[in-house]
């Protein structure tokens, strides 16, 4: 090794020359090649990789949309229609971007609830989890501003209702709203800045994703058993075991994505957004995109304006303190027979909110939203802290290898590939 150069193990001379000066090949090999990964992942562990791919797809399609999009109230709607009708493959790029946003939220919701079920937020992964919550908040902001860009009726009124949320804060509220708008209503200055931010935020997300992954590579991944790997018998090198497992998931993901884009591109959208924005007429029934509905339902469940706004923001911010609300020493819900039941009810409350958020603000939907909201917070603020103390968890397996391989592990483990074939990884 020459002085000042990295001691590279790469054999290809060109790559080696680069790697000695900037050890990216060594780093990739360490973080994605030999990286020791728990051997018992199920398919829920695909969703991080899927989210990253989805982000790349959003940025790629977004940049090409931006080449034809016009952020002006007089031209925005028509420029999107031009993309749909006249720009070569414009319809494809836009439908991929539009449905890509939905796919992104499907993937990320599964990724988040995976973390909640298997206790991935617990020590030592608290910061990793919190960075994830930051990513989710940035995604919500990005998707919200993106939806305003086509300047249809839902764009305009969604923007009006959501920016007005800030008017609920006492004294400074109305000032903040005027500042957000850059005027006295949602108008051209608002559209301009939303476009600038919609372009910027995905790159910020990219940066936070980098930190999220960096933190992951310090603590290592959690796994369905929620116990830490104790040695080499508990792990597999990331490549080829998990590159191939992720690939299986990617194929399924692309199949669903293609189904949406080619056969039902407007299924998840709202037809009113194909009516140009009209500041004088509010559509009879305003609903946000499906992925915001649970939070919208919480907003409407509270009869008080400020209370509703606080509870809605609180429903996501509470995720930040989840690592400290959950007092149980056991990570995975597999070993928490009681908490597990309440966890499934919590998932049900989330879906009930999603459903109720899309209904008009009248009975019985209001009372249903109120009950589901109550349970949502009960889970985080009461059940999790209390159950951790009261519940008697099931006995944890001695090690990942012992749980996956049975007696073979105790005898020192067999050759890895056969052992894996003997008991394929389960789909939890």
């Amino acid at each position: 090794m020459a002085i000042g150069l990295h001691d590279s193990q790469v054999s290809n001379p060109v790559l080696r020359w680069i790697d000695q000066r900037l050890p990216v090949v060594t780093m990739m090999q360490k973080e994605y090649g030999t990286f020791p990964t728990p051997r018992n992942f199920n398919y829920f562990w695909n969703f991080g990789a899927l989210a990253l791919i989805n982000l790349v797809i959003m940025i790629a399609t977004g940049i090409f949309l931006a080449m034809n999009y016009q952020p002006h109230t007089a031209h925005a709607f028509d420029s999107v229609e031009r993309i749909m009708r006249d720009v070569n493959f414009g319809w494809l790029i836009r439908y991929v971007h539009m449905n890509g946003a939905s796919m992104f939220f499907i993937v990320v919701y599964i990724h988040i609830y995976r973390g909640m079920y298997y206790g991935s937020y617990k020590k030592p992964r608290e910061l990793l989890w919190m960075l994830g919550v930051v990513i989710f908040l940035l995604m919500m902001a990005t998707a919200f501003m993106g939806y305003v860009l086509p300047w249809g009726q839902m764009s305009f009124w969604g923007a009006t209702v959501i920016t007005n949320l800030f008017s609920a804060f006492p004294i400074v509220g109305p000032e903040i709203v005027t500042w957000l708008w850059g005027g006295f209503s949602v108008d051209n200055p608002t559209l301009n800045r939303f476009f600038a931010l919609h372009y910027l935020l995905p790159f910020v997300i990219f940066g936070v994703v980098f930190l999220h992954v960096a933190a992951l590579h310090i603590t290592g991944s959690n796994n369905p058993l929620g116990i830490e790997p104790k040695g080499p018998q508990d792990t597999l090198p990331f490549h080829p075991y998990y590159t191939i497992k992720d690939s299986v998931g990617i194929v399924a993901y692309f199949a669903l994505f293609a189904l949406l884009v080619f056969f039902m591109p407007n299924y998840l959208g709202h037809p009113d957004n194909y009516i140009p924005a009209n500041p004088l007429v509010t559509p009879a029934h305003i609903v946000p995109e499906w992925y915001f509905l649970p939070f919208y339902a919480i907003l409407r469940a509270v009869p008080d304006k400020l209370g509703g706004v606080l509870l809605m923001f609180g429903s996501i911010l509470v995720w930040f303190v989840l690592p400290w609300l959950d007092t149980s020493k056991v990570r995975s819900m597999r070993f928490r027979p009681v908490a597990r039941i309440f966890f499934f009810l919590f998932i049900v409350s989330f879906f009930v909110l999603m459903w109720a958020g899309g209904k008009p603000a009248e009975q019985p939907y209001v009372i249903i939203s109120q009950l589901a909201t109550a349970y949502y917070f009960l889970w985080f603020l009461v059940l999790l802290p209390v159950l951790g103390k009261l519940e008697k968890p099931l006995p944890l397996p001695e090690s990942i290898a012992a749980a996956v391989l049975g007696t073979k592990a105790v005898l020192g483990g067999g050759p890895i590939p056969q052992a894996v074939a003997a008991k394929p990884m389960e789909k939890a």
Binding site: T160, V161, L165, W181, G183, V186, P189, T282, A284
Partner: protein, 188 residues
């Protein structure tokens, strides 16, 4: 601001704060100046997002009220928002004035909300989250108090535009306006 090197490198100040050094003081002062500097630099960027001069310049609108017959209303644009101008019937005025203030969520007399008895001029933006309430057209739903009804989350306003039921916290806002003569109103 802990700096493990500092106590050994600088002499400790005699007396009151053991361990505090002259260097600590310099660091805090420097940091404070830097913070003020950053805030000063950030301000123009933050302020650039507030309404610009051209937006502020568009802040008034003239309305000819001659075509509005008794019982009719029109909607005009002012600062990108709808403004309702309603020529109320005597019964509507009567109805608004008969309500005791104790029944109101945001108490205000009808007299305090108008300049001329029949003419009600209001910003047509629901004080909940900004939708445009229905009730301007004769065929619209007017809600349970015969005024306006916001379909977004169900706020009901009376014939004086006061909030009577639903999540909205306050009455429909009254913009600054003046009758420049008997047939013209200037809003803003």
């Amino acid at each position: 601001m802990a700096d493990t090197m500092a106590p050994q490198m600088a002499q400790a100040a005699p007396g009151a704060h053991p361990g505090a050094t002259k260097r600590d003081f310099l660091k805090l002062t420097t940091a404070a100046f830097a913070a003020v500097g950053v805030a000063g630099i950030a301000w123009p960027f933050v302020a650039s997002m507030s309404p610009s001069r051209d937006v502020l310049a568009l802040a008034s609108t003239e309305v000819d009220i001659r075509p509005i017959a008794t019982g009719q209303a029109i909607t005009v644009m002012w600062r990108g928002k709808p403004v309702f101008v309603r020529n109320r019937t005597a019964e509507e005025v009567q109805e608004a004035r008969a309500v005791p203030l104790s029944e109101l969520k945001d108490p205000a007399t009808d007299q305090s909300r108008v300049q001329r008895d029949s003419w009600l001029v209001m910003v047509g933006v629901c004080t909940h989250l900004g939708c445009v309430p229905l009730g301007q057209k004769p065929t619209d739903a007017k809600g349970d108090f015969n005024g306006w009804f916001c379909p977004c989350h169900g706020s009901h306003y009376d014939t004086s535009g006061r909030i009577r039921r639903g999540p909205a916290p306050s009455n429909l806002a009254i913009p600054d306006y003046a009758f420049t003569n008997d047939t013209t109103i200037r809003i803003g």
